[in-house]
Point group: D2
Chain length 487, copies 4
């Protein structure tokens, strides 16, 4: 009658960013700065963390499972990772791969010295490349796609590290932002379409690379610019050298970063995330108005959109759902007579507030829909007379292959159902998603340019801008290693 | 140049509730229910947790340092604490006392069986009583005031447990809510003035006791009523027996529970906490209006008050400060050139939003003021043109002796300074606290009844309703035990 | 087909000493010295260890499960237990009681200061006293018999600590050696018959108390004398004060300390343990000679006796069984087709040596006999043509109630069987035990003085010299606490 | 005045075997059997342990720091390493390399499947090969020499795994015994001179490979034969296939295995280790007789030699030094006034036995000599009137490069001093080592055949039978990786 359940029920029903990356060169406290930067990027991955530093002669590394503050709060560890250059990585790990050997940054010794790489994104031809490399005698140690990059650099016949890296980049396909470290430099790379974010900052005489600007803020660095789509930037202490190995490519940044993944206080590819979310709320209020007593966000992600909706509609914004921040990994469900205990571990209806009221409920997306069902039931049990749900993204109908953990498309509620069916399933009085053009309007576009879309929106439209080589190749179903997970 | 610093810089500059308590009888999953209830009360104490259950013959116990979800997520542990009755406790421990021997519930074997007790509050004559009990041959095991209660019950010459407990209650002074367990019953007690909260709930055939109603919500229990000031309730599976050993006493509930301690979704002593906070915001907007572009809360505690202020004033509510929820205990400060890194571990200014704006900043209280200084500086660094601070409590001038962890009064900013001085110290353009009468108005009173105040507001007024015996007695400065903390 | 099994199969078939105790006063490194002394006494108890020190003002304590070297190897911990006086305890815990609350030394605050006590032995009226003390309002924290002593001291109406302690000693029955600590002194106590050992040593200006002289050797202390039976010694830095609260009592030291418990390099109550064991071997060779090719000990305990047997008989001494010292707690038995894997985790037959040979096998005792069966089978499987077993104690027929962990008498092989039956059960060609008089002769007596026996030999003879109050009282079967073990 | 010190003072003054290896195929409980076998080989390495199993489809692995019984006592772990074939490794790690990435068996995925290898010995051209492999694009993950073998197999252009392995073997130089696992087979390899041991056993239908026969005994397997010098054996469930890639090579087994490394109950390369040690003792008694009262071994390693010496000389064998088996890693030395506390943590003089006696002290070797100094002082302090030291090996003058951890030769006492100087340094009345011919005689040879020595005795003679390529090459002083140890 009892069983383990996660305390993160909402998280299980969310899409997940898979990584955050950071690098700094020219600062005496490079590792401490990297730890702080990764802390600010913790929302992009909580399951593992690693840092590699360079002290002018040796590289130093620490990789660990768990969060930044758990693993890098100790002064001894910080001081062991000496040097004025460092890169780091936080990771959200999908099931079955959470072993230490997969924790980034990856590192390798080459003939001419050490090389470390931290990767946010997903390669779509990693399996194909790996199979070829094994045939050539390469020994893979981990099961992450990033290791392919290291081996391509190692096997390259080019002379310099940068030439080898560029040769490797030309062989890989997919979405990727990279932060690399080598003797005397850190390197930032963004794939030709710039799907995943990467920004450049400056802190005194030091240069910084980070997934989001919030990681600049925490260390007091100033924002310089985004790394451009298809750009390779080489940072030593003094200058930014820029290469364009792919020439000029049209930018297609991931639009879901604005909807949910990025932190609201970040500024990415020309937009404030908070402002974008408020405008989505405002567009939603225009597209799908409703008569109600209050606008209630599902905290915390729904808050800016709800504020935007409330300001546009004139309906008061209220915290009708309270979030419990003391969440662990799992909890015991006492009996199946207590329904929806999972949802209550993290959220509780503000009963006295919503009793007898008509609610506009704002959330960012519907994945499986199971959590939405429970939230709505919780609101009704607390006395809400009407629940109108408004979603700040179009229906999520397709899996992401570019670095976001999504269920297979068959498990996506919107893949199988109409909006009306979804409304019925979730149990709301009305349900509306923002339109794809409304979403683009919130980003100051006139709408989606269907001949040359301004963003990657494959999860909504199924329009995949990068080839899915492994997926198309049946062999990609095979496993990467005949070694099962370390016991 | 580096040193350990807490990631909870705001918490260090907050008052702390010291405990949350819970009990249930008549439910097969009593321990699991108690773990869930304590999880909902985790904001009342995060440093230790304990549960004692009774299976009809034996008592079972687990005490641990850390949070509920860390220690009670394991099905094995839940199943070891058998029985249909259980009580539990979460604790905020002041420095130097965080050892396992002090984790509650306390338990003792008496001639007639076992007795466990969980305590929220603080006894003001504990040291005096302890000294007497040691002279009579009692051996104290812990250094918590609660152990005095156990020994008074043990040494009583009364026949029944309830008679012994009542005799003990008549000897103790202070603020206390107790949840006790004995063979076939759980017992709830609230001190004569009802300073600390305690509510009764019902879940099917089971009775529940909890510090706040949010702990009823999580298990799906319905709210029955508050335990009254000075009341002893004895709950077996079927009935509520009520004793009034102190006769009728005037109620003086802690008003700070409404301001900060309690969860906004709780309903205590006749008021919704969320509504109370919104009304405080509304009163503040009337008492201390200001021309500004946006109302910004210090998250998360300032949110309801800011909504109330925004709705009353018509100034838009905005999330101008973003909170990082991935907080550990300590972090390394890289260099002292990076100022205010502590504050940034937990909060970041939403730069693009507040740049060039006039801000009304809402917070619940000012204790030392050090955090406020940093928050305001962070807002100005992000470009705010004006910062007007509004506080949802009167100036905190006096220490609490009734179960809230407060610095000595000399360290309270308001104890030493006028509001004008405080504004200057914090660096705001204006600073205003709600008036004591405004605070009472938010709770539907006409104002404070100075001859018979409706609440305990000693931290604002210095009017202590319960005698401070140990404090007045110089001996109370002596230490409780000649055994230093276990290594 | 697999199950957990202990790697200590021999230990399960051995009697166990339950404790070792140590104390020192007058040495700046008192805690480090105590840790070293307890390390030398580790054979007397491996499951828990504790130290209490006194620095002139405060007491300091650490209690832990596990061995001394695991828990006291850290300089930080050693330095936290400040002071020039300390006492310590190692413990062998019987099943179900291995919880931290039972780890000694116990400590209590009294009106006049702190008091700590470490106990080796067993009280035979502890349950009876405990029941009375609970009726008087005492709250027991642990389930060990030693806590009775603390409460008797606390409840005493005598003025001085020593008077209170003496009053307590007059109420307790059983076998006990105590080492106590209080302000400015350590105290050594031996029960009226001196059943358990306790010696006094001197190290420069410091006095030492220890269960065995090997604990003096490790710190370089010199042996002064045994504490006498029924003596209380009070040691401050300078002098030994001696009290005889029981007058002169006949000594009856535990004879099994010579057979097995004590370390061979210890000198106790006038005898070298190693010499005593060699003489037992010599007596055995005279009483039970046999024609054979080699004398083989069961290592390590059988070695000195085997040397004695070999020297007397002229048959060569050989290491026919090799011991594996890398033993953990438990191991997996792969399949039940592999017989006697348990025994092989710890011992292996020296196949090339014993093949085709006639063996005299020396062991110290037979408890259940299950291990002996396996050892003998292992020797035969390795090719031994004859196995003659010689045991350096008389048949163990009776349980010990004086501090040694013995099975109930029904489980003792010798309780139910004749020597001939035992030989058949174990599978040996011949089996002989030393006679009770032979054992006494090995200790330089003419034989056992049956009217006034010189030693406690109750486990062989059933002659219990101290009353078994709890055992005789049916109530003693009741449990000590209605609180089950901490989860 | 206090500092950390090891409790293994003798070990620091001993040579160390660096590894033990084991493999089994054809047994349902392959992993449990491997864990037991490694437990029996624990004396060959205590710092890390690993097992790789194969279940017919997947490989499973666990690598851990610490002992076998600590890491493989858990049934869950045993059951996760499924399959009827497994190999394992225990390791003694030299300073600075004790990180998880170096724990064996190593494993790699090849084009045709998985391959695991466990290695006992040391390659003398590993650095040279590694440098070449990195130039060819290989990425090394660990810093152990064994990884070279894996990469040579991976880069080979041969078709079958066996052909690739043979090609790799022909490139490596040094002393090595290998146990490998691949699909459907385990493989045993011994270097051309057979320096390190490896035996074949049989358990029902299963084949076993192990460093020593004591690992066969523990699981009840029977000894089949030694793997021969220069032989590759391929074991599937049914047959032993034997390859001789190096043709017939003269055998030169490590003679120190008989002196100290191997367990006395093992039978290696045609000799019982126990018998060999006894014969060494006997030869010593003939070569270096002395008039004395007793023969005393330094336990445990000196025991068989002392028995041999005693039997030959007629002087009684006695346990004059008692070993404390409860040893942890480190301990605190209380003050420097207490001399030789380190030695006393592990050994104590049996004072009453040796007082006034003339002692012949038997030990296996003298490395630095520091421990011998302390042992002799301890014996004299306990009253020994004469101490005559006899060593069961010739003077250790040269470092080992074939898998034994030795100090640099300058730190070897015998490298710098004559026997007379050594006797004076150690403080003995006389000192004698067995002669090199005496040692060979104890192994049933007429003496050392200097034109074609029968054993590797380089540590005594400086006659290195295998080329020391890396040592001769100055580059070998460079470090293997520019990545410092993981923090």
């Amino acid at each position: 009658m009892t069983f383990d359940m996660t305390t993160n029920p909402f998280d299980d029903d969310k899409l997940h960013e898979e990584c955050g990356i950071f690098g700094i060169i020219g600062n005496e406290s490079a590792t401490a700065m990297t730890a702080l930067g990764l802390h600010a990027l913790q929302h992009r991955g909580q399951e593992a963390v690693g840092i590699v530093s360079f002290d002018g002669e040796h590289f130093h590394a620490k990789h660990a499972l768990g969060q930044v503050s758990t693993n890098f709060s100790n002064e001894t560890i910080i001081s062991q990772l000496m040097g004025s250059a460092a890169i780091g990585h936080v990771r959200y790990a999908t099931t079955g791969e959470t072993s230490l050997r997969n924790v980034q940054p990856l590192f390798a010794d080459f003939e001419f010295g050490g090389f470390g790489v931290a990767h946010n994104g997903n390669l779509t031809n990693a399996y194909t490349l790996r199979t070829e490399l094994v045939k050539r005698g390469c020994i893979f140690h981990a099961t992450t796609d990033t290791e392919v990059i290291i081996h391509l650099v190692a096997m390259s016949r080019q002379k310099t590290l940068i030439d080898r890296l560029v040769e490797a980049l030309k062989q890989i396909e997919g979405a990727y932002s990279l932060v690399c470290i080598a003797k005397g430099k850190i390197i930032g790379v963004r794939d030709p379409l710039g799907v995943r974010p990467l920004v450049i900052g400056k802190l005194g005489g030091a240069f910084v690379l980070a997934s989001e600007t919030c990681a600049l803020d925490i260390i007091g660095a100033t924002f310089v610019r985004d790394v451009e789509a298809g750009e390779v930037v080489i940072l030593n202490g003094d200058t930014i050298e820029s290469l364009r190995p792919f020439g000029n490519t049209p930018r297609r940044f991931c639009i879901f970063e604005y909807v949910y993944f990025a932190r609201p206080d970040s500024f990415l590819d020309g937009h404030s995330v908070y402002e974008a979310r408020k405008k989505i709320g405002s567009e939603l209020a225009k597209e799908s108005p409703v008569e109600a007593d209050m606008v209630v966000p599902v905290p915390d992600s729904g808050v800016p959109t709800a504020i935007g909706y409330a300001q546009e509609s004139g309906i008061p914004f209220e915290m009708g759902i309270i979030r419990n921040h003391y969440v662990g990994r799992t909890f015991i469900q006492p009996t199946d007579r207590i329904r929806h205990i999972g949802v209550k571990l993290k959220h509780n209806a503000n009963r006295k507030l919503i009793e007898g009221k008509r609610i506009v409920l704002l959330d960012d997306s519907i994945v499986r829909g199971t959590t939405s069902v429970k939230i709505v039931e919780m609101l009704r049990a607390a006395g809400a007379t009407e629940v109108h749900m408004r979603i700040s993204s179009p229906p999520t109908k397709h899996s992401c292959f570019y670095g976001i953990d999504t269920p297979e498309s068959e498990k996506l509620l919107a893949h199988r159902h109409t909006v009306a069916e979804m409304a019925k399933f979730i149990g709301v009085d009305s349900l509306a998603f923002i339109s794809i053009d409304g979403l683009y309007r919130a980003l100051d576009e006139k709408g989606r340019n269907n001949t040359q879309p301004q963003y990657c929106d494959a999860c909504f439209t199924g329009d995949y801008p990068i080839r899915l080589t492994d997926f198309e190749n049946k062999d990609s179903q095979n496993e990467l290693s005949c070694l099962a997970k370390e016991a």
